[in-house]
Symmetry: C2
Subunit: 309 residues, 2 copies
């Protein structure tokens, strides 16, 4: 696949726009802060228009975006952001402006489905048919691939918003930060939840701070639920909060403790280090996934992922 395509990882903080054929062949890249839809989409568009003139026409554009999104091709608001809590971005048409101005097919999916696709094609889930990509950052989101196909269904997964038991170590007065659910997974364990609970940036909490054991516990409860619900062959765990590398062994031990031997699989019982892993395309999972999304539009009949395993 050498056709040049464009990709956008549309995040709540920044838009990463790339032109290339894959994560090892990125010809141009720009980071645009997420401000208003007009300003941010305008800058992104200008980048792709300029690139089309410089490096040649793009065959398609892929967008891996924060959401929730309308992903029903037949819907009048296909490609729109819908019920987001991010001010100014509700009911914003993401795909339309690019399709109209660039005149190329545009493929859109959630940021996490995109990242899963990128990791499946080039990263930590190569060869697997069923896996989950979870990001723990400003928000918590999960996407995935089941039997070599992207998860969509009614809309798309919103894995950050599952209900979890509160830890007995949790301050009873802490309500969680999700504007929709208070103490859902995102409400209890996102970066802003850490900030609200402990009163400082998560980045600044030392490694021996009790914050991390509690954080690992909540992430592990969620992963145990995803394992029981989806039976993934691997879980890729990324996002800003996971920059705390010491969380990985804590999470692996806690997931095993919570499952308590019920899921009889050597991947969980014996090879947990290879079961819950960081992204391999560190920082580029989403942008690479956006390129992969674009490529699925160039080769319409291409399976989402090759069946190598």
């Amino acid at each position: 696949m050498t056709t040049l395509v464009g990709g956008i990882e549309a995040g709540g903080t920044k838009f990463v726009c790339v032109v290339g054929t894959g994560p090892e062949d990125i010809r141009a890249q720009v980071r645009i802060p997420t401000t208003t839809p007009e300003a941010t989409l305008g800058e992104a568009l200008a980048f792709f228009q300029q690139q089309s003139r410089h490096v040649g026409p793009l065959a398609a554009l892929g967008i891996a975006s924060f959401g929730p999104l309308d992903l029903h091709p037949s819907s009048p608001s296909y490609g729109f952001i819908t019920s987001t809590a991010k001010p100014g971005w509700r009911n914003v048409d993401l795909a339309g402006p690019f399709r109209r101005a660039l005149g190329v097919p545009v493929s859109i999916d959630t940021d996490v489905n995109g990242a899963a696709l990128g990791e499946g094609r080039w990263g930590a889930a190569r060869g697997l048919g069923t896996f989950v990509y979870l990001t723990v950052g400003t928000g918590i989101g999960g996407g995935g691939v089941i039997n070599h196909q992207m998860m969509h269904g009614l809309i798309h997964p919103e894995m950050g918003h599952i209900w979890l038991p509160r830890s007995p170590k949790e301050e009873p007065s802490f309500q969680g930060v999700c504007p929709y659910h208070g103490g859902c997974f995102e409400g209890l364990a996102s970066g802003p939840a850490l900030h609200r609970r402990w009163g400082g940036q998560a980045e600044a909490l030392p490694e021996n701070h009790p914050a991390w054991e509690l954080e690992a516990h909540y992430i592990s409860l969620a992963l145990a639920n995803f394992i029981a619900t989806l039976s993934p062959q691997r879980i890729i765990l990324g996002g800003g909060v996971m920059a705390q590398r010491h969380l990985y062994p804590l999470v692996r031990d806690e997931v095993r403790r919570l499952l308590n031997g019920y899921i009889q699989s050597a991947d969980i019982l014996e090879r947990m280090d290879a079961y819950i892993v960081p992204p391999a395309l560190e920082g580029l999972s989403g942008a690479a996934g956006a390129l992969a999304l674009a490529q699925t539009r160039v080769l319409k009949d291409m399976p989402v992922l090759e069946k190598t395993g």
Copy 2:
């Protein structure tokens, strides 16, 4: 599809064995109590041997069984029950005895994946590509179809064993009944959990007993989690406990309350009555699913479900 096949719904209480071509064409049926593997499997085998002589040879056999099961075709314990809590049934070969004695291909899956398949082909999920079948009975189990394919992955879903927040109305001393996890979903909301918590058979609790509001709350928390994780187009809710029909409206209202408008879909916001539904093949979902499993072995290349929607 008129080829005669056999089907077994293997449950913890009884085995339902059928011969036919679908739920409207069952030629013979027998119910065998689940006692020891030797006795129960022996009786089931005798039934199919006798039927083969009477109504003609079977083209294949499908088994929809309680589990967990080993469903990896390449595993030495393929078709075995693995870590079940049911005494005497751990590490029991279910598929092998039938394959050897009947000399037909045997297709095995979980009881709930089987029920999902049956409801997808002939029942309440006809035409849908992505849906969940959940049973609330002696155990709680969920299975499903994603993008027209059965859910397997690492092993198969075990949706009864997700972690949920305890209700503030729950007696703090109640530990739940799951031998692996105590107060997981099954530990809090299965028939035996109702029995343990309220001290009588669930069947005997009157409709205005506080048991049902709490039960509906736990089921709704779980369904909200499955919606956030899988984004199903419909949820089929069956099992002995759901014989309490008044639970359906309680669950629908509570799921909507818990999601709190976050999932922007008319199916949830406006058409909840058609979103969370009882099985259409009442009592036969699993046995019909077992027939459908057998049929997938006759027509090897047949898609699991036809893509009508």
